[in-house]
Symmetry: C2
Subunit: 339 residues, 2 copies
């Protein structure tokens, strides 16, 4: 092509500049993808039982959390801050089973578990069986950042919270009318059946992220099973079971039958399949969730991200509350398999 001025040199220069610019933008995007994925649990009710209002409300909660967490990544923040932000928002949202509105144990209390893991290190912090901590994910972060430990439980964890200046809240803060009704229903059901209750095993929240610096992070928070035995701890705060992140392989947060996730070390297993058998993240998740977990009768799902920014959200249940955003322009909010 020849310009109107008939001067080939400047035209050529402009093309080169545009071309270099395009290459540079592409390279930068390829070099430093960012991604945030969240879940609000795999305990989704069958479509027949889900009202449009409830579904819309869940979708709004997921949208708020994924956008808030993604904004952290967009302004150059760390994956650790992004997952903490998203999880904290879902802890504060009473419709999710974490923080306020958590499922109640057989004493009628919310007994909360959470973990956070920094794929850079890796480093990890977790708390389990706390009753007065508004945002367990933040306390898990304090355990990671300000103690030599990984896991603190019960009264000792709350003593640590106080030492760190965390303001505790009364047990009543967590109890919502919906959870009190759910517990009564579970306990009546258990009494009628004369056996241990099944609970509502899949309401956990979690997030995984990749930041511009290439660091992966994962966080998970839960109230666990409705009507669970006081003291029962599930997979969420267990590094390797419900939460895991390693910059060399992947970051995973799980939701589902906690005991199955613990026995099968689900989160670490996915990353081990990536690291040792060189499966893609999608293949690894498929093998663990649809083959290994299903083979034992375990139900649930995971969200995962790898250092290249590949996102996987998969489950062997009816649905999983989930959302994902990345620098390739993806912005999905979904509940059932077909969105």
């Amino acid at each position: 092509m020849i310009t109107a001025l008939g001067k080939p040199m400047p035209r050529c220069n402009l093309s080169v500049v545009l071309c270099l610019l395009l290459v540079s933008v592409t390279a930068r995007a390829a070099e430093a993808p960012i991604a945030l994925v969240i879940h609000g649990g795999a305990g989704v009710a069958d479509r027949a039982q889900m009202t449009p209002e409830r579904e819309a409300s869940y979708r709004a909660g997921l949208t708020a959390a994924v956008d808030a967490g993604y904004a952290v990544l967009q302004r150059g923040g760390s994956s650790l801050d992004a997952v903490a932000t998203a999880v904290r928002m879902m802890e504060d949202d009473p419709q999710f089973n974490a923080g306020r509105g958590a499922a109640l144990n057989d004493d009628g209390d919310a007994e909360l578990d959470a973990a956070i893991m920094d794929g850079n290190g890796p480093r990890a912090g977790a708390v389990a069986g706390v009753w007065h901590v508004r945002n367990p994910v933040d306390l898990a972060r304090l355990v990671m950042d300000r103690s030599p430990h990984v896991l603190l439980v019960g009264a000792g964890a709350e003593e640590f919270a106080l030492e760190q200046g965390v303001v505790l809240v009364p047990r009543s803060y967590f109890r919502t009318r919906a959870r009190i009704a759910e517990l009564a229903e579970e306990q009546q059901g258990a009494a009628e059946k004369g056996k241990a209750p099944a609970g509502n095993p899949k309401g956990t929240v979690g997030a995984v992220a990749l930041d511009r610096a290439g660091n992966l992070a994962a966080a998970t928070s839960t109230g666990g099973l409705a009507n669970k035995h006081a003291g029962r701890v599930g997979d969420s705060p267990i590094i390797g079971a419900g939460t895991y992140a390693n910059n060399q392989s992947c970051a995973v947060s799980g939701t589902g039958d906690g005991e199955y996730f613990m026995r099968q070390v689900v989160a670490y297993d996915i990353c081990a399949l990536v690291a040792y058998r060189h499966l893609t993240l999608e293949q690894a998740v498929t093998e663990v969730i649809h083959e290994k977990l299903r083979a034992t009768g375990g139900t649930g799902g995971v969200i995962a991200v790898d250092p290249a920014g590949n996102i996987v959200m998969d489950f062997n249940t009816v649905g999983m509350f989930r959302a994902a955003r990345d620098s390739r322009g993806r912005r999905d909010i979904a509940v059932y398999r077909d969105k």
Copy 2:
């Protein structure tokens, strides 16, 4: 050879019978090896600080535990019963950091953790942060056998113990003069250094076994770190970190810097290397203990056994209290690298 009676036929028959018997015994041993391996922690003092009396006492404790556990396997008992027997004996022996004589936390209490895992299933049970349970390994077994859960912590775990008819003991049962002195020393040292104490991170006890039926099992029990923050839970009761068993790969019990074992999911990682990269058990342990753990600064050791009865006891510390017996006639009791 000719018998005194000069009748060759019976002699020949006798030889054949003896020969067949020998073949059968050999074949049977080759078909169904049994093995028990135990550890009493990797927190061995330097040789210069170890008195001959103390070393002899530790060796006697290890011998009693390995022989008692091995006797279970010899009479056809399960690997699960064998590891529980060996660990229970070390919990009752005040020189080991588990059960009576456990290290004391910063409140001056023994706060106990234990896990047990059946490689057949796999199934698992664990307790953490209990103060009044004489044999935490037995409570972990009850969690596995009589609850739908894997992990119970703190007061809820003790409530479960009472529901199961376990007789609780007072906190004073666990405190020995040696541990009270150790705690005072740790606290003085911590006060002088003005920083978090290092504790005595490696006194955990554990056992792994293979029984005649080919089932693997692992169990671990500990008081954790001396002067630990109340509520701190280490790797011992965490399935995948300090304890793991799967008939398809291996059984592992760890001892060392619990936080490193948790972040690196040490016990499961060893089995994953066996299952996914087809390393031998020895190669897998070497890679995890001498390369991956050392690379992060983590110290400790593991005992492990695989379905063929191969035994590995390895550590990156000065020593590890350990013992092993198997159907090939091995019976080792060792403390330092050179026995």
